[in-house]
């Protein structure tokens, strides 16, 4: 662990990403304290520019506080990003491990399924799923997970395919280990690094998908989110640029930070790759 941190620390931008991400997390947790009122509530004069009428980042056409929305939206983005990734990773690892280890028809089925998912325009599929299930946190998480798991499954399958023929796994067979033990104790620990990396990058993608859904009006109507703010502010582009601009910057910074962390993890966990460049 200590040596991992030493490797991670060498990459300055990854440390920067971690610091920014920590700030976003703090904001997400502090939102109820900083802005205890409902962010959907009318908070003052509408269309106030940033810094006026007590609005740090201005207000929108209904007098909602943009800054309050961003603070509450941080929680939504992180929560949905993490939950969707968790579901996608668990499902992807399960399917990928079985397919890679057993091969045969399980593998065929999985490969055809992931190929199909690559053919389906995933964002339209997510839209359809949310539209059919009615927008809510659960349906958004499920929709994002459904379009995300094939990438994890493909990765894990590939790792399992190469690891299952490694000699230490074969040694496990000759010792009489059970399949479950070989999968869980011998192979899986050796492909954790790429899973962690793809998982961390997937949180970023999930946040982008969520904001896109909310922008199109498919967010959970009871929860403030950055995509919703931008979608609601797009008609005000001419008159109130700040309504769209600041939530967009929030998304950009958060996703950037997570990507930096993901790359830092990648470099620290796969030292071989780092030496190359």
């Amino acid at each position: 662990m200590a040596s991992f941190w030493k490797l991670y620390r060498r990459n300055y931008s990854a440390v920067l990403g971690l610091v920014i991400l920590a700030l976003v997390i703090v904001v997400a947790f502090a939102a109820p304290l900083m802005y205890p009122d409902d962010p959907f509530r009318l908070a003052g004069k509408s269309m106030s520019p940033p810094g006026e009428a007590g609005f740090l980042l201005g207000s929108d056409s209904l007098g909602r506080d943009v800054a309050a929305g961003i603070a509450h939206g941080a929680k939504t983005s992180l929560l949905i990003g993490l939950l969707a990734t968790l579901v996608a990773v668990v499902a992807g690892v399960f399917m990928g491990a079985l397919a890679g280890y057993y091969g045969g028809w399980v593998d065929d089925l999985l490969m055809r399924t992931t190929e199909m998912f690559q053919t389906i325009p995933s964002f339209i599929f997510a839209i359809l799923l949310v539209a059919i299930m009615k927008p809510s946190i659960e349906s958004i998480v499920i929709a994002i997970a459904v379009v995300s798991w094939p990438a994890v499954a493909r990765l894990v399958r590939g790792e399992f395919l190469s690891l299952k023929n490694r000699e230490f796994v074969q040694a496990g067979h000759t010792l009489g280990m059970s399949d479950a033990r070989i999968i869980l104790a011998e192979i899986l620990p050796n492909c954790l690094s790429p899973i962690i990396v793809i998982g961390s990058l997937m949180v970023a993608t999930a946040i982008l998908i969520e904001s896109g859904l909310a922008f199109l009006g498919l967010g959970d109507p009871n929860i403030m989110s950055w995509g919703f703010q931008i979608g609601a502010g797009r008609t005000l582009l001419r008159s109130a640029w700040w309504v769209c601009t600041f939530p967009g910057i929030a998304i950009l910074i958060t996703v950037l930070a997570i990507n930096l962390v993901g790359e830092g993890l990648n470099d620290a966990l796969n030292p071989r790759l780092r030496e190359r460049s």
């Binding site: 055809r112 399924t113 190929e115 199909m116 690559q118 053919t119 389906i120 325009p121 995933s122 964002f123 339209i124 599929f125 997510a126 839209i127 359809l128 799923l129 539209a131 059919i132 299930m133 970023a204 982008l208 904001s211 896109g212 922008f215 199109l216 009006g217 498919l218 995509g227 931008i230 979608g231 797009r234 582009l237 001419r238 640029w241 769209c244 601009t245 939530p247 967009g248 998304i251 950009l252 996703v255 950037l256 990507n259 930096l260 190359r276 460049s277």
Partner: protein, 328 residues
């Protein structure tokens, strides 16, 4: 067997492999219909109930909703196979007509985006990799990192604020200035003018992706043994990069371009709705608001077919680039 025959067989094989995938997508479509509230006919007729009860009854019979699920699936497949995607009551048109009507606009946006993203991605990746750790490399890497993290719709809105509202260089929305009644070459120029901002918006994310991939791929290939051989032959670095490394480095980028086509069409929903570009994505956005699920499913199906078609083109390009195709 000569190389051309191998290539041909490879592409044919990929074409055949696409058939079960298309079938599977239609089946998924069917089950999505099942998943929705109410029976399929409620969905098909639009939830607002604008269809007449007679038509609903007719539809129920047509889909055999009283029959078991496999029969329903079969009937659905049969309808799709005869290009019958149902009727949109919002637009008072058959779904197929609606979708085909918007098809060209999306195709135009997609092709221009793919060309821009792949072309510039390869170029920037190449520039970054050949100037490793110089300011060029850093600037390109930072640019890629930021655009990779920016939501499409926000980029679109910001471009509109800057280039359409303030600078007035480009129109804010639409595909052409209909009121001007342009014809011939003028119309082409007009459409191209409208195309600039949506294309840039949609391509930025993929541009970042291909740039990073191309850079990584170039670096990986430059460490390969055949590069040492090329040096040992006394070739110039220029020739090594442009003749030996480049072609090998392109392979993963081309593969990725194929994989990303689906995601690209997904992104067009957002971009088209931001720029009111009258394509499938815009139609999907309208259908979403009108809760016209049947239309959404039709768009979904056609866009998947579009992905299959583009992938086939990518396969052909790949088969030209890589002589080893028949091995894998």
């Amino acid at each position: 067997m000569d190389h051309f025959t191998k290539r041909f067989r490879y592409v044919l094989k990929r074409l055949l492999q696409a058939i079960p995938i298309v079938l599977a997508i239609i089946v998924v479509n069917f089950f999505l219909l099942q998943l929705a509230e109410g029976d399929a006919v409620d969905v098909l007729a639009g939830e607002a109930g604008s269809a007449t009860p007679e038509y609903m009854a007719e539809l129920r019979a047509k889909f055999g909703l009283d029959k078991p699920l496999p029969v329903q699936l079969f009937l659905y497949l049969k309808n799709v196979a005869s290009f019958d995607l149902g009727y949109s009551f919002r637009h008072e048109m058959p779904v197929l007509d609606l979708v085909l009507d918007r098809f060209f606009a999306t195709l135009l946006l997609m092709v221009s985006t793919i060309l821009l993203a792949v072309g510039f991605g390869i170029l920037l990746g190449l520039v970054a990799a050949t100037g490793l750790n110089t300011w060029r490399d850093s600037a390109i890497s930072i640019f890629a990192l930021i655009t990779y993290a920016t939501p499409l719709f926000w980029v679109g809105l910001m471009l509109i604020v800057v280039f359409a509202l303030n600078l007035r260089w480009f129109p804010t929305s639409g595909m052409e200035n209909i009121a001007a009644f342009h014809e011939g070459w003028d119309r082409v120029v007009d459409i191209a003018h409208h195309l600039v901002l949506p294309t840039i918006t949609l391509s930025l994310f993929y541009l970042a992706l291909y740039t990073r991939l191309m850079r990584a791929s170039m670096l990986e290939q430059s460490g390969q043994d055949y590069v040492t051989t090329a040096r040992a032959k006394g070739l110039t670095e220029r020739r090594i990069v442009f003749v030996h490394v480049l072609r090998n480095a392109l392979l993963p980028v081309v593969t990725m371009a194929g994989v990303q086509v689906g995601a690209l069409i997904g992104g067009s929903v957002i971009v088209e709705s931001v720029f009111a570009w009258p394509g499938l994505g815009m139609l999907a956005f309208e259908a979403l608001f009108a809760r016209d699920l049947n239309l959404l499913l039709g768009i979904f199906l056609l866009s998947a077919l579009l992905v299959v078609a583009v992938n086939l083109v990518v396969d052909i390009i790949y088969s030209v680039l890589d002589p080893r195709i028949e091995v894998s």
